[in-house]
């Protein structure tokens, strides 16, 4: 089942990680680059991607990092998670970044580099 956390429409190339993301600790808010080498997307930029990751972890202030990414024009165009958490949900709500949650099965079918479209108003949310 697809669950809409923040409604909206977006399309972009998938950047997928198996790591839960600590936005405050792992993402450079000025460049959108992952700067924690423990991540499998280390040194990759999340700018304009559809960012696909299990869920957010860590500091509650990570919500401000997501807002900063948007203000600095380096944010993802959408986010897709397996589990919704308050930091990512509230950060996306304020930054107006569409965010949805997928069940494990659907989440697993999404592949890195794939072009994807999200439209939360449409009957088929993912294309």
């Amino acid at each position: 089942m697809t669950k809409i956390i923040v409604p909206g429409r977006a399309s972009g190339i998938v950047l997928k990680t198996t790591n839960p993301i600590n936005f405050l600790g792992a993402v450079d808010k000025k460049t959108g680059v992952i700067h924690d080498q423990k991540y499998d997307i280390y040194k990759k930029s999340i700018q304009n991607t559809v960012l696909v990751f299990p869920h957010g972890v860590g500091s509650s202030v990570g919500a401000y990092t997501i807002y900063s990414l948007k203000s600095n024009n380096v944010a993802p165009v959408a986010m897709i998670c397996k589990k919704a958490d308050l930091t990512v949900a509230s950060g996306c709500a304020l930054a107006d970044i569409p965010m949805i949650v997928l069940c494990d099965e659907e989440f697993n079918t999404i592949e890195n580099g794939q072009q994807i479209q999200i439209d939360t108003e449409s009957d088929k949310i993912l294309n």
């Binding site: 401000y64 203000s71 949900a89 950060g91 965010m99």
Partner: protein, 387 residues
Amino acid sequence: MELTKEEQSALNGEKGDALQTAYRILVATGEATNAEKLIPINWAHLSGVNYNTIGDAGEEFLRKLSKDAKVKVKATVNPMGFDFDHISEFNHIEEDFIAKQKSIRDSYIRMGVEPTFSCTPYDIYDLPKQGTQVSFAESNAAIFANSLGNLKTNKESAFSALASALTGKSPYSDLRKDDIITPMTIRMAIDNPNELDFGMLGFFAGKVGDTSVNISGVSQPNRRSCKALCGGMGTSGTCAKFQFVDSEDEESEKIAFGKEEMNEVYDELNTAEKGDLITLGSPQLGLEELSDLSKMLKGKSFQKRCMIFCSRAVQEQARNLDYTNEIKRAGGEILSDCCTCLTPLIDTNETDAVTTNSIKGAYYLKNSTGVDVNLKPLSKIIEDETR
């Protein structure tokens, strides 16, 4: 999530931009936590005060928001980057940082928050009656409130707590209900644990636990150890609550926290043999901890710089009880309104490593400040670093 007519009209923007923003956040966090409705809360504790963490975008957001937004319930706030009373002693802090920090402080005050600048609101105020719904963003404070304070809160984000402060409401999520399922019990298998061991237990529990964990094998830890446990747990994961249990529930999954598990946490966070300076306080120290410290320091002096972080309210109380004189005589620098985590007071040009007893502090010193960390319990710090 179902909204009342009034909530829906605020979401539609009929009550101004600030409330519309707040309700958009509440709806998203409500959906995220499967809440069916919003409920009233009567205290919000906000994170997102330190310029180091929220940056220019955060400063600008708060400046604009505070033009017409006002908090509806009691609201307290997290530490800033530094202590304005002592800033002249730290030459390396840039003017721009000071100006932006001042703007953030003023924005919060304009919105009507109580200027606590503390990550330990539970050390400053008497807690409301059992079962009271609150919204705490600071993770150690949320875990303390749920686990030791008999209050109920989500592990809020900076924005969800801010939205709660502006509306007096929060999603009625699982953590706010009485029947939380706790599917895991962690057994403390370390003998005579000190506060550092409890911090490591918390860090471990945060990683393996989901929303709530049981902890067995522990009898009545002191407040310093309890705070260390909350701090460690909040740093590593999404876990928002623990309860000490006597015996292990048959149904729950059981995991031991023994030497091996502890060493793994220690090796992840301890990266130096010794520190160039010492920090005490993340979470900020309470009155009882300052009292202990002043007794431990009788007749001794620190052999290197030691920064001691506590809230301003606690510092005043400690001064009245004469604890601060002994600490200052021993060379301790008492700083308020800030803490070990993400403070710019530590000059990375001059500091390679910091000694601390805080697991939470260690994580942010290493990952955000970018210095090495030497972990020791307080008793060992006093033994090794004073004469």
